[in-house]
């Protein structure tokens, strides 16, 4: 057999080599370590360029290792499976922890995480302004800053329910980003089957998804509100008198914030449950929040009535919030209408959510 790389016209004729032990084997490129007989495999590839006479090459795979069958040992598990709350907590943490860590949790796009961070930092700007007013204490500047961002009924209401920038740019966008894919992703990818082939009821599935979305929104909206109030006390060195004076409307604002989180989550989750795309769920949410407000605003401008603001979830919440914090209402229609509107928005959204989740993975019923 010719050894291509070692062919030399000047060399004396070599002694005939012994015949190969295995006729299937070959010795190419000076390598003779192919051992086909023992069951090992090889791959042989030859190729050339140009006319192929001068630098003909052969490339041969090195000795292949034997295939290894994996050891198949099944060990039964004798542990005790946790109760319902343990399973529910697993669903909850899977969705919430995904915001901070990708490993083992729900996947959030890095841009979504960044947007949430920016919104959260944006919601903390009043704290920075209070801090600034303290550092430049005295003078008109400090007074202006305190008036604009210091704790009072209007600012507490505005921290949660102010239209610009919070309810125009921040909270609806935050909700759309967090809630949009909560259920629509499962609908699109069929991953709800992962839950429903386990001892997870549809109620648990829905409740935990809802809770995880609400907690993320609550962290940004409600927690930033609480931080704002607390930082004002700390930075200004306020005492018990301030606390007693402001606590009632702080609690009113807190309740308004929770109502906002619940209502936005309900509407967002309902839209996510009817869609197979997180994009359309998110856009649908923004359309409802902004669209209803624009329609109500146009009707007010044309007909001079605020009644149609009850169609706008934001305005209904804002109206209720004004009552809770104790500031004059911007709306002429009775408060009861807005309260009923908020209740209906929540009830209808949760009803839709529940009915859609009931049909998940249940085919052709």
């Amino acid at each position: 057999m010719t050894t291509l790389s070692e062919t030399d016209d000047q060399a004396p004729p070599a002694e005939p080599s012994p015949p190969p032990a295995d006729t299937h084997g070959s010795q190419v490129g000076g390598k003779s370590d192919l051992d086909i007989g023992s069951g090992q495999t090889r791959m042989e590839v030859a190729y050339g360029a140009g006319d192929g006479d001068d630098d003909a090459k052969a490339v041969v795979a090195q000795k292949a290792s034997l295939g290894v069958l994996f050891e198949q040992v099944y060990r039964p598990w004798n542990g005790t499976l946790g109760p319902r709350w343990v399973r529910n907590y697993a669903i909850f943490r899977h969705h919430v922890y995904g915001l901070f860590r990708g490993k083992g949790h729900r996947h959030y796009n890095p841009f979504v995480r960044l947007a949430i961070l920016v919104i959260f930092l944006g919601s903390l700007t009043p704290i920075a302004m209070i801090f600034l007013s303290v550092t430049i204490s005295g003078g008109e500047g400090a007074d202006f800053l305190n008036r604009m961002w210091g704790v009072n009924r209007y600012n507490l209401w505005g921290q949660v329910l102010g239209y610009f920038p919070r309810n125009l740019c921040m909270w609806p966008l935050l909700t759309a980003l967090v809630v949009g894919g909560m259920i629509s992703d499962d609908r699109k990818n069929g991953t709800s089957a992962i839950y429903f082939s386990r001892p997870v009821t549809r109620t648990d599935y829905t409740a935990m998804k809802y809770l995880s979305a609400a907690v993320v929104l609550g962290f940004v909206i409600v927690f930033s509100y609480m931080l704002y109030y607390a930082s004002s006390i700390v930075f200004n060195g306020e005492g018990w008198a301030f606390l007693i004076d402001t606590l009632p409307y702080f609690l009113g604002g807190l309740l308004a914030g929770i109502l906002l989180v619940v209502t936005y989550t309900s509407i967002g989750m309902a839209l996510s449950s009817v869609s197979q795309s997180r994009f359309f769920a998110a856009i649908g949410f923004l359309a409802i929040i902004f669209g209803t407000k624009v329609v109500a605003l146009m009707i007010e401008m044309i007909f001079g009535t605020t009644m149609f603001y009850i169609l706008s979830p934001y305005d209904s919440l804002a109206h209720v919030g004004q009552w809770l914090v104790g500031i004059p209402a911007n709306y002429e229609h009775p408060l009861a209408f807005s309260v009923i509107s908020v209740l209906i928005f929540n009830a209808a959204s949760i009803g839709l959510l529940v009915s859609r989740v009931s049909s998940l993975e249940v085919t052709r019923e």
Binding site: G82, H107, T191, F196, S197, V200, T363
Partner: protein
């Protein structure tokens, strides 16, 4: 095997209608322990059966019980059930280990238990060395095996596998079959569906055959095969001279006829497939003719179904 006297799967006169279309027609089954193959062509009712078992469909009539509990009403039996859906999607961004351990936690395991158990089942299905690789980078066979791993992570008593070999390469098929056989030998109840008889034959001898929503046959594969063997059979032999080879076969006992259905091919008709295969090598050798292939066109599920429903095989 289920720990009490109720079988793992009990289906009693169960029917499922989709409007005017019948998905499952008065099926009664009781299965407990070992591997059972659910066979049937596409549209036979295999997926309907599994959806009923997994509580995704409500029976139109009759009842379905897993460990004695109605899965439509109560998810409790799923603590003891592992399910591999045919088209189930996975979380592609997760590693195999993260995925399986996350799902273990949905069963109520602690973090350490879930992690340890995930590693074990991934080793069991042969994915130990790639368990820290993202699922999105897995091959089809590896994805199927990770699905089996997540179904096994809580050590279920009943494992339901819907077409687990679908789309897998031969190596993946072999390893998955090996996993399924091993689970059956552990005493677990394993239901595995396929529309390919050979696949099931390599896994189990206990089969259920569905056709058009009806239960056609239930029992040992060999017993059903024997029925098939008594049915007229064909053996297709491709050779250079079919007529000369036919002359050699005609005097043989098991052969009752020959046919030249295709050019360069001889079709032998027999009532006893085993006997015909016994004489085959001798007759071919004695004829001295070159034979390029020998096929059994009737040795498939269609033929078996054809026989069972009384049509042509």
């Amino acid at each position: 095997m289920s720990s009490n006297s109720t079988p793992a799967v009990l289906i009693d006169h169960c029917s499922k209608w989709y409007g005017q279309v019948i998905g499952l027609n008065d099926v009664s089954l009781a299965i407990d322990g070992g591997v059972t193959g659910i066979l049937g062509p596409n549209g036979a009712g295999k997926s309907t059966l599994f959806k009923l078992l997994m509580g995704r469909l409500k029976p139109s009539s009759g009842s379905v019980r897993l460990f004695g509990i109605d899965p439509w009403e109560d998810t409790a039996p799923y603590r003891r059930v592992g399910y591999v859906a045919e088209t189930e999607k996975l979380y592609d961004w997760m590693t195999g280990h993260d995925f399986v351990s996350t799902l273990a936690r949905l069963h109520g395991m602690t973090r350490d238990e879930a992690s340890e158990r995930a590693s074990h089942v991934l080793e069991f299905v042969g994915l130990g060395d790639v368990q820290n690789k993202e699922i999105g980078k897995y091959s089809k066979g590896m994805r199927q095996r990770v699905k089996i791993a997540h179904a096994l992570v809580h050590d279920p008593d009943l494992i339901i596998l819907d077409e687990p070999l679908h789309g897998c390469d031969p190596i993946a098929r072999t390893s998955i079959m090996s996993v399924i056989r091993d689970l059956g030998s552990q005493g677990k109840t394993v239901l595995v569906s396929s529309h390919i008889l050979d696949e099931i034959e390599r896994i189990t001898e206990q089969i259920v055959i569905l056709h058009n929503g009806r239960l056609l046959a239930l029992g040992n594969l060999h017993a059903i095969r024997d029925l098939l063997d008594k049915h007229p059979h064909r053996i297709l032999i491709r050779t250079e001279d079919p007529r000369a080879l036919a002359a050699s076969f005609v005097p043989e006992d098991p052969v009752y006829g020959v046919r030249f259905a295709q050019e360069g091919a001889l079709e032998i008709l027999t009532n006893d497939l085993s006997a015909a295969h016994t004489i085959l090598p001798r007759v071919i050798f004695e004829s001295g003719l070159k034979v390029t292939s020998i096929e059994n066109p009737d040795d498939n599920l269609d033929a078996l179904l054809g026989y069972l429903v009384g049509g042509d095989s």
